[in-house]
Symmetry: C3
């Protein structure tokens, strides 16, 4: 069985801090506080959206790829300026954060998710489902993403994902 | 970053009690034990269903509004007597309860949710998505809603929500 | 109120172990590590998929029924050999595990779920919603399902559920 890392290996406060961090990230996006998005990452970082097939075959062919906090900031600025897309909301529903391993202050973490999208007129649909595969560094009790890979179950990811997942 | 209140500020047992309470509420509705619904609220209380746009603009224009346990009881009685709607089930899926602040025994809490509705013939769909914005009072280790605001992402809320969310 | 069993009655580590176990099970299926599926059950066990109506009326008329680890193994072998169905992925989203009671090492546990199915071409939909009604035995800190009943809200369960839920 490929279980979660035993709780004995990770102190409860660190685990709680990581779980809260992942939840806070989801609320940040859903609350449209996107300017805070880069604050969740280390200065040098990886943010990648990739489909499941490419992820499993270890092809690094992401739909979106950012490698620094600056790139994340640029992305949000562009999004705010463009603003041409049909208004819509995301709602992230997370499920079962697993801490799969650790290496000093660096934690390997996986969390399943689905995103429900609501268009301004009111139509709701399942926009995305998949899992986050994260590397989270915890320093002074404060977690940050060193790497967040969004693995989407669907091969047909919207080529223009405007809002980050 | 608008993070969750630090765990240090809230003892773990109180936090667990609040999280369990929110989970129990969802099961109560999904199990069709609606007569228990008013028991989750203080005698004087607020239960409001509102769309996101009105909530953000601080307009108190709810789709449903109750201000006492008695009103909640009346609502359930009416629902049981009327019973004209097409039979359906709800399934609440909750995500990531955040304790955002406290003031003595009163806690500000937010939880994202989606509700999957299943019609008797079997059709399933996303009925609602949004977040609960709660004020929960904890006395003697027992939480109760002083205020539960159901903020729906969609502007097009069914005008006749029969079962509470 | 039909609340969760008080935390005082169950030590926190046991509760965490049970919650992690339920999360690990979901990831095992979604990661397509189905050969591990039987390892989550005791040698003699019950795995049943049933609709809500039959469950409530205590009719044991399941859509799928297995009574030993061997039967679970056979099922996965058959699934791997047949492999005729349209390729698809599941994504389990769990919500709010409740420990409802205990009897020595045996715990009664309920967890709401929804399953998002993604077809290879990319179409996503709500495949199932309902709740797990479990009896979990914990020995030496290690949980196993003695009984897992998957209660589906919909009466129209796919007669050929290939992948377990």
């Amino acid at each position: 069985m490929d279980g979660s890392a035993t709780t004995s290996a990770i102190d409860k406060d660190t685990r709680r801090a990581i779980e809260d961090f992942i939840v806070d990230y989801a609320h940040m996006i859903d609350d449209d506080r996107l300017e805070e998005w880069p604050d969740y990452f280390t200065e040098k970082c990886t943010y990648r959206i990739i489909n499941r097939e490419n992820f499993v075959r270890e092809r690094v062919v992401g739909v979106m790829e950012c490698s620094s906090r600056g790139m994340l900031e640029d992305r949000i600025k562009a999004l705010r300026e463009a603003n041409v897309f049909e208004p819509h909301w995301y709602r992230h529903i997370l499920s079962g954060t697993r801490i799969k391993g650790r290496n000093g202050d660096l934690f390997q973490v996986e969390t399943s998710f689905t995103v429900i999208r609501t268009l301004q007129e009111g139509d709701m649909s399942v926009f995305s489902a998949g899992k986050y595969v994260d590397e989270i560094i915890v320093e002074g009790g404060k977690p940050l993403f060193q790497k967040r890979v969004v693995v989407c179950d669907s091969n047909r990811i919207h080529t223009l994902i405007v809002i980050p997942i």
